[in-house]
Amino acid sequence: MYPEELKYTDDHEWVRVENGKAYVGVTHYAQEQLGDVVFVELPDIGEEFEMGDSFGVVESVKTVSDLFMPLSGKVVEINEDLEDSPEAVNEDPYGEGWIIAIELSDESQLDQLMDSEAYQKTLE
């Protein structure tokens, strides 16, 4: 449910650092709380955000929720497949359901994120 190699935030986003980029999505818990996702509003490539800023919106049959930047940085990739298949966020939140990739502006921020165990504690 909560892969060991990922980092997590209080706002239920996950981060995976890969080739100098950080991939971002929402956690299993978040997708379960949201219910069936029907739309994901993505930022533009090149947009820059601070940690904690809202970078997009995820809309489900139950609710609409902001997506928050887990780290500061510039958007370098977006998952355009979500436009046609937003259900990937529900079906495969850590894989096909990734949302954006960012170029970090301050790698030390990674230390502020939680590991899998700490995140799961917050869910109890």
Partner: protein
């Protein structure tokens, strides 16, 4: 099961249910440029008169409405709409009036609007009211535009932030964005009210105002409202009262006295005019003196017993709606207020609060309550217990209500309560109806324990069962196309 073909699917070439008299004037062919003229007649359905009638009567009977069942849809105040409101609004002098008729010919309508304005000022504790906005969210936007005009006039245009608590209505941040402002969210405290410390942290000279409902979305009266108003005013911001929950306080407390500068009322909630498909709505906005110059044009004024429309108001934000708002709805709300009178309105709120508390206490035995304390006109129940213990969600619970002829409460809102069910019975329901609702909810709770699988398949008796909501949102069919 009644047939649910579309009217287009009932069409057969050559059938018709009308007859028009012979054209006895010369036909003009060139009124429209050629490229705008139809090459073929519009493909309207061809059906007999009786078929049309049955089609729409049958469709209307598939609806749930407050006239055929209990409708505890939280925050929406689905109260009984007295039929005398309809009678009065259909008097020919109101129904057949044209908005372009002169002031001399519309004195009655102007007087009604002027008096309704006075009543709303009295109920809300405000100095003037515009009747133009056509819905609650429209009122919010108009109110925010007044806040902006006020700050601009004072050279304070740098104020761009609007504070909204995390229990706020979804329309609030949407209106803020529409107005070009920025939303700042603050958390609720452990009693479900505004966290004063969190408020202090975000108050600065960039704050344009705060939007609140009181009672708030959880159904609680903001006990620290005077302190909230003092703090916001001290920072130079204004206070906006979202009147969505005004049904709880009429005659007992007035937003103007609490310290609010602006409010909107939902006539279609608090003042018994139809909504939820029966609309249209109406969202009059009231303000304190300091904001009066900015109110939309025109305002209705009176001089020597004559009413007139005053457009000579140079600081006005201008019109926010064509003509004078949803006039028919204004007539209905006026009638509602006059029929009940001051004491009657007070009793409305008293009974609305009593009914909500009655249900809440009864249901607290079988369901989880995140905040268990006296509520106002509504409360937020949680399906958490059923979910944790039996894997049954709030969706499953409320779908079962449909099988008992009861409209579900507002669900999954506010977001700060897990598996939320927001229940607002309104004042117009009898004890027997409330008891029946409680009995049904208890039965469902029992079913969650004993036969959760059966519960997950509900509803069983409705014209359609569970709809594919995700499919409908992901691949909406927005236009009918002929088959084949």
């Amino acid at each position: 099961m009644k047939d649910r073909d579309l009217i287009f699917e009932k069409s057969r070439p050559g059938k018709k249910g009308y007859s028009l008299p012979e054209l006895d004037v010369p036909q003009k062919q060139d009124l429209l440029p050629e490229n705008l003229q139809r090459k073929n007649p519009a493909p309207l359905p061809e059906v007999a008169e009786g078929e049309v009638l049955r089609h729409y009567i049958n469709l209307s009977q598939l609806n749930h409405s407050v006239d055929n069942g209990f409708y505890p849809l939280g925050s929406c105040t689905m109260k009984y709409n007295p039929k005398i409101n309809e009678d009065v609004s259909r008097l020919p002098g109101f129904a057949e009036l044209h908005p372009y008729q002169s002031e001399e010919m519309t004195q009655g309508a102007l007087k009604l609007m002027a008096e309704l304005e006075k009543y709303l000022c009295e109920i809300g504790g405000m100095d003037r009211v515009t009747l133009q906005p056509a819905a609650g969210a429209h009122g919010e936007l108009a109110g925010l535009m007044l806040i902006r005009a006020y700050h601009r006039h004072r050279g304070q245009d740098h104020r761009k932030k609007i504070i909204i608590p995390d229990s706020g209505h979804g329309t609030n941040p949407a209106s803020v964005t529409m107005c070009g402002y920025e939303t700042v969210e603050i958390p609720s405290d452990d009693k479900g009210c505004i966290d004063l410390e969190a408020l202090k942290e975000v108050l600065d000279d960039k704050v344009a105002g705060i939007m609140l409902t009181n009672p708030n979305t959880l159904g609680f009266y903001e006990e620290n409202i005077s302190e909230v108003c003092r703090l916001v005013h001290e920072s130079g911001g204004l206070l906006y009262y979202d009147g969505a929950n005004a049904n709880a306080i009429m005659g007992y407390s007035r937003p103007g006295d609490m310290g609010f500068d602006i409010l909107h009322f939902n006539l279609h909630k608090t003042f018994g005019t139809p909504h939820g498909g029966g609309g249209p709505g109406s969202g009059p906005v009231g303000v304190k003196d300091k904001l009066v110059p900015f109110l939309p044009n025109p305002m209705i004024e009176e001089e020597d017993g004559k009413y007139f429309l005053d457009y000579d108001r140079p600081q006005s934000i201008g019109r926010v709606r064509s003509f004078f708002g949803n006039f028919g709805v204004l007539v209905k709300a006026f009638t509602y207020i006059r029929m009940l009178g001051a004491e009657g309105l007070k009793q409305v709120s008293e009974d609305a609060v009593l009914n909500a508390n009655y249900i809440m206490e009864k249901l607290a035995k079988s369901y989880h309550l995140k905040y268990h304390r006296n509520c106002m006109h509504e409360f937020v129940l949680s399906g958490k217990k059923q979910k944790d213990e039996h894997g049954v969600t709030t969706t499953d619970i409320v779908k079962n209500l449909l099988d008992h002829g009861i409209h579900p409460p507002t669900v999954y809102f506010p977001l700060i309560v897990e598996e939320a069910m927001m229940i607002e019975p309104t004042e117009t329901e009898s004890k027997e109806t409330l008891d029946e609702f409680v009995a049904v909810m208890e039965k469902i709770a029992k079913m969650a324990e004993e036969d959760p699988e059966k519960l997950k398949e509900a509803p069983y008796t409705t014209p359609v069962r569970r709809l594919d909501e995700a499919g409908a949102a992901r691949n909406p069919i927005l236009k009918w196309e002929p088959k084949g």
